[in-house]
Amino acid sequence: MTASVAADSLVSLAAREMRGGRRSTAAMLVGPATIFVTVGLLVPIVILFRYSLNQFVPGKMMVEAWTFENYVLFVTDPYYTAAFYRTLRVAVIVTVLCLLLAFPLAYKLARTQSRYKNLMIMLLVLPLFVGNAVRAAGWMTLFGNRGFLNVALQWIGITSEPITLMYTEFAVIVGILAVNLPYVVLTIQSVLEGIDRAVEDAAFNLGAGPFTMVRRVLLPLTLPGIAAGAIFCFILTMNAYATPVLLGGPQFVMMGPLVYTQFAAKSNWPFGAAVSFILMTATLILTAAANLMVQRRYRNSM
C-alpha cells in the first residue's frame, strides 16, 4: 500500500517535473517574443498614454501635467468627432465590401483543380509587393480630372465634363479596398481549404439549393476565417495612412493622418498622443466586440 502510494507520488513527481521541463522549454520559446512585445509595444503605449495627459503650450511643446483636457477636446470638437465617425464609416464599408468580394474569389481559389492554382495565388499576392503609396499613385493617374477613367468616359460619350473622383470618399474606399482585398481572400481561402467538399455534396444531396448550402453549411464553417479576415481588414482601414492622404486629399481627414498632423504640423504631442490612444482603444473595443459576437454565433451554429 505504502509502496504503491510512494510509487504513485514518484510517478506524479516525475510527471510534474516533466511538465515543469516542458514549461521551461515553452518559456524559452516564448521569452524573446514576450520581451520584444513588452519593450517594443507595451512600454511605448504606456509612454504614449502618459504624454496624452500632458498639456500643450504653444512654443513650449509639452508641459508635464495630469489632465484629461486632450480627451475632452477630442470628444467635444465636432471637427475631431467627424474625423472619427468618417474613419469608422470607411472602415465598415471597406470591410463589408471586402468580404462580399473576397468570399467568391476565395471559394473559387480553394476549390479549383487547375494546375495554375499556385500561379493564381501568386497573382493575388503580387499587389502586396508594391507599397501602399505607390499603389495610391496608380489610382491617382486613373482618377484625375484628366485621368484614364475620365478620359475614357468622355471618349465613350457617357459624360461630357470630367467627374470629380480624386479627393473623394469613393477614391479612398476603392484604394483601401484594393490594398486589403488580398489579405481577406487569403485568410478565407485558407479556411475553405480545410472544409471537406463532401459536406457541400451532402447538403446538395439533402435537397439544398446552392444559396441554402452556402448560407447554412459553408458560411458557418468558414466563419472563423471570415471573422479573422474582417478583423484584419477593419484594423488596417481604421489605421490607414497613405491611401487617405493621397486619394482623400487635404479635406478628407481620417484618424491616421490626423495623428500625424498633430505631431508633425502642430508639434502638439499631448493631443497627438490622445488621438492615437482613442484610435487604438476604439479599434480594440470594436474588434473585441465583433470577435465576441462571431464566437457566440459560431458556438450556436455548431
Partner: protein
C-alpha cells in the same frame, strides 16, 4: 529527468539573458555616439536634394580641405526641432548645426535652445544682404532665399495678375489652387491682401473665409499642384519663385509676377544648438555656407537666390530666379513673433474653418 530540467532551465536563462543583452545593445545602438572627434561636424538637415547639395557644395569642397568631416543626420524639421528641445537639459546635444527656416527659428526662440551667434566668427558676414542680416536675427545664419510670387498660366488667366488679390477675383473662380502644406505662408499672404501685415491673423482669417466662398481647389503638396497646373486643372496660385523655375524647366506653361502686396520671403539657413558638442566646427560650417561658390552652386542647382552680395549669378539665371531691385523692395519677412505664438491656432483655423466642407 531533473538533470534535463536543469539543462533546459539554464538554457532558458541563457536565452533570456541573450535576449535582454540583445535588446540592451540595440537600445544603445539607437543613440549614436557623437562629438567624440573634434574635427567632426554633425549636420542635422532635411534629406533629399537639399542634403545632397550641401554635401556637394559645402561639405566636400569647402570644409573637407579645412580638415572637417561633416556627418549628415537627416530628418524632417519637426522631428529635429522636437529632438533639439528634448536634448535641452543635456550638457552635450547630438547635433552641431541645425538646418532650419526663419519660421522654425521663431518657434525655437522662446524655448531658449539656440546659441546667439557671434558675428566676429563669420568671415562672410559683411557680405550678407541687409534684409537677412544676422545682427537683426542673431540666432539664425541665412543660407538661401526665395519669395512667394503669383504664378499663373497665361493660357487660362488672360489678364496678367498684379498681385495676390487676383486669387480673390471672382473672374478667376475655378482656376485657383491652394497648397495645404503652405498654410502658414498662405495665411500670411491673406493678411497682406487684406491690407495688414503678415502677422494680422484676424484680417487673414476674414480674407481666407472670403477666398473659401470662391471654392479654390486645395492640393496636398507642391507636387500635386504642379500636376494640376500641368493638366490645366488650375492656372493660378501663389508659390515660391524657385519652384516656378523648376516647373518652367519641366515644361509647365507658367509665368510669375512679384505681387504688389509684397513678396513674402522664404529664408532657409542654419542655427547652432546651445549644447552643440563642436561649436568651432558649427561656425566653420555656417560661414562656409556663405561662400560665394556655395551660393552660386545653390542658385544653379536649386533655383534659390544667394543671401550674399558677392556671389556672381549669370544674368539670364538671375532674371529667372531672382528679383529686380524694385521687386527686392517688395520683400517682406514673416512676423516671427506672431508665428511663434500662434502657429497651432493658425493650423487649427486652416483645418477646421478654411478647409472644412
Amino acid at each position: 529527468m531533473s538533470n534535463k530540467m536543469m539543462q533546459s532551465r539554464i538554457s532558458r536563462r541563457r536565452v533570456l539573458k541573450g535576449a535582454s543583452a540583445a535588446v540592451g545593445l540595440s537600445a544603445l545602438g539607437a543613440f549614436p555616439v557623437f562629438g567624440q572627434n573634434d574635427k567632426k561636424i554633425v549636420l542635422s538637415t532635411w534629406g533629399g536634394d537639399y542634403a545632397k547639395l550641401l554635401t556637394k557644395h559645402v561639405s566636400n569642397p569647402v570644409l573637407a580641405p579645412q580638415g572637417w568631416t561633416v556627418v549628415n543626420d537627416e530628418a524632417q524639421v519637426t522631428q529635429r526641432k522636437a529632438k533639439t528641445v528634448a536634448e535641452k537639459r543635456l550638457p552635450k546635444g547630438t547635433s552641431d548645426v541645425q538646418a532650419l527656416t526663419a519660421t522654425d527659428i521663431a518657434e525655437l526662440t522662446a524655448l531658449d535652445v539656440l546659441e546667439p551667434l557671434d558675428l566676429s566668427r563669420f568671415k562672410n558676414a559683411p557680405n550678407i544682404i541687409k534684409t537677412f542680416s544676422i545682427a537683426d536675427s542673431p540666432l539664425f545664419s541665412p543660407h538661401i532665399y526665395s519669395g512667394k510670387v503669383v504664378l499663373y498660366n497665361p493660357k487660362l488667366i488672360k489678364d496678367v495678375p498684379k498681385g495676390m488679390d487676383s486669387l480673390w477675383d471672382p473672374k478667376n473662380q475655378g482656376k485657383v489652387g491652394i497648397v495645404d502644406i503652405q498654410h502658414v505662408y498662405t495665411t500670411m499672404a491673406a493678411a497682406l491682401v487684406a491690407g495688414g501685415k503678415t502677422g494680422d491673423f484676424e484680417k487673414a482669417k476674414k480674407a481666407l473665409l472670403d477666398l473659401k466662398k470662391l471654392k479654390p481647389r486645395i492640393y496636398p503638396s507642391n507636387e500635386a499642384i504642379a500636376q494640376a497646373l500641368q493638366t490645366e486643372e488650375v492656372g493660378l496660385c501663389i508659390m515660391w519663385k524657385a519652384r516656378a523655375v523648376q516647373w518652367q524647366n519641366a515644361g509647365i506653361n507658367v509665368l510669375t509676377i512679384a505681387p504688389k502686396e509684397g513678396v513674402i520671403s522664404y529664408v532657409s539657413g542654419f542655427a547652432i544648438p546651445k549644447n552643440a558638442p563642436n561649436k568651432a566646427g558649427a561656425y566653420a560650417f555656417l560661414d562656409g555656407a556663405l561662400e560665394p561658390s556655395v551660393q552660386e552652386g545653390f542658385a544653379i542647382d536649386m533655383g534659390y537666390n544667394p543671401v550674399v552680395r558677392n556671389a556672381k549669378i549669370a544674368p539670364e539665371l538671375k532674371a529667372r530666379i531672382g528679383f529686380t531691385p524694385e521687386e527686392e523692395k517688395l520683400l517682406v519677412n514673416p512676423d516671427l513673433e506672431f508665428l511663434a505664438k500662434r502657429m497651432a491656432d493658425l493650423k487649427d483655423f486652416w483645418d477646421k474653418e478654411f478647409k472644412a466642407g
